[in-house]
């Protein structure tokens, strides 16, 4: 379970998070929605420790994220980055098996390659992709490789940062379905940030709406259309009229 308690984060005068409270039960898929620049990525990076919150507490499986063994903490996570964040200098299989080639989870190279190819197949890529470099792949394929890397070490928690940004609707659908299948199959806890409503409906068990640095509404995806929350209603309808200013 992930719990954020009154998390604040500012960059200079820009107060991005103003007291975020959020709970993600173990084994569920939470999608955080909100406009661009509302702090969704910052919230996610705070959980991972990539950004240090100014105040507030974050607990993962009851453990304070700011204390304890950092390697053991990070070993629980897999993450799909918005742009893939694949390492240009490494072939695809080494990107996928990165964690299995070094550090505490190190395995023999042949075994790590087998796992990488297996994970690539799981995300719909052929084995012959394994020896290519990231620059030789399309955006959709890079996203799939990023997804394969995120699940390579069978993490307990997976984060998805804008998983469908920059993809065509068909590829977005493919990625959404893959994420849903993988999360269900692995029984992992998932946290996704997106402003793509088709992703929300495909991936989410629960949805949280982040605006003005706080969670404005949270509830099951089945209640999204009847939330009664003016922020959520404006966001899902894509209307310029409402409490969310169109010009930010």
């Amino acid at each position: 379970m992930i719990r954020m308690e009154n998390v604040h984060k500012a960059f200079g005068d820009n107060h991005v998070l103003r007291g975020v409270n959020l709970e993600i039960p173990k084994g569920t898929s939470m999608v955080i929605i909100g406009g661009s620049g509302t702090g969704k990525s910052v919230a996610l990076k705070c959980v991972l420790g990539l950004i240090k919150p100014d105040s507030g507490k974050i607990y993962v499986d009851g453990q304070d994220a700011a204390t304890g063994n950092r390697d053991a903490f990070l070993a629980k996570f897999g993450m799909l980055f918005q742009g893939g964040a694949l390492f240009d200098s490494l072939p695809i299989w080494q990107n996928v098996a990165f964690r299995l080639l070094r550090g505490p989870l190190k395995r023999p190279a042949d075994y790590a390659r087998e796992i990488a190819i297996d994970k690539l197949r799981r995300v719909g890529l052929r084995a012959n992709v394994a020896d290519l470099y990231p620059s030789e792949l399309s955006g959709g394929m890079q996203k799939r490789v990023g997804l394969a890397r995120a699940i390579a070490a069978d993490p307990e928690i997976i984060f998805f940062d804008e998983p469908t940004t920059g993809l065509d609707p068909i590829m977005s659908g493919v990625i959404n379905d893959l994420i849903r299948e993988i999360v269900t199959e692995m029984g992992a806890t998932a946290m996704t940030i997106t402003h793509d409503m088709s992703s929300v409906r495909a991936i989410a068990d629960n949805v949280a709406m982040l605006h003005d640095g706080v969670i404005q509404w949270t509830g099951p995806v089945s209640q999204l259309d009847s939330s009664g929350d003016p922020y959520v209603e404006q966001f899902i309808s894509g209307s310029a009229e409402g409490p969310i200013e169109a010009v930010r």
Partner: protein, 260 residues
Amino acid sequence: MNPLAMLAELGRAVLNLLAAFGRVTLFALDALSHIFRPPFYPRELGMALLNIGWLSLPVVGLTTIFTGGALALQIYAGGARFNAEAVVPQIVAIGMVRELGPVMVGLMIAARVTSSIAAEIATMKVTEQIDALVTLSTHPMKYLTAPRVLAALITVPALVAVGDIIGIAGGYAVATQNLGFNPAAYLKNTVDFLEPLDILSSLVKGAAFGMIAAIMGCYFGMNSGRGAQGVGRATKSSVEAAAVLILAANFVLTGVFFSL
């Protein structure tokens, strides 16, 4: 402009400079400490040795051979004014080994290696590859910085040694082919005149310049701003800082070895 405002501006600039110096020093100490603390990444070290050392050989060789040749011509022409043309072998040797070899190699490494390290790491930063490293339980200082700094510490002194030899060879070729020096006498004068301290100073300068070049590349890369402009600025600043620090360190080390 109000004198007080000018003073405040000056004070702010000095404070900013000191703060930057402090940040770079802390970064350098952190980078050096990671060289000795596991985990180690031999593959990354191997790649860095190849990139910084082996692949810099052509530019180092070409730079120093022309420098050595030009130095021989200058000393011969200058020495002729007071009938001291015969000192060409000795001055080429001492000039290359003590000064021009390390400085030319240091500046070439700043141009070739510092810029490449800064651009690579800055691009990794703006494309979230460094964040990805962290989420994959890999410390960026250990994976990116430590291998590059260690590789520079090992290879740049070796490059300086090679540069010294090639520079002296450039002087030898010009002196024996164009200026009428006897080849055997030229070599004997060169070898006899050089002292162990000359060679030691050259290698120590090489290690110091290599460390500066790698650390500046890593520091500006890791602290790059966003987007293409951020990468460009990081690259430019890293080369500027490395070149200035290499020349400043050269002055200090020359003082330490030969004046104190």
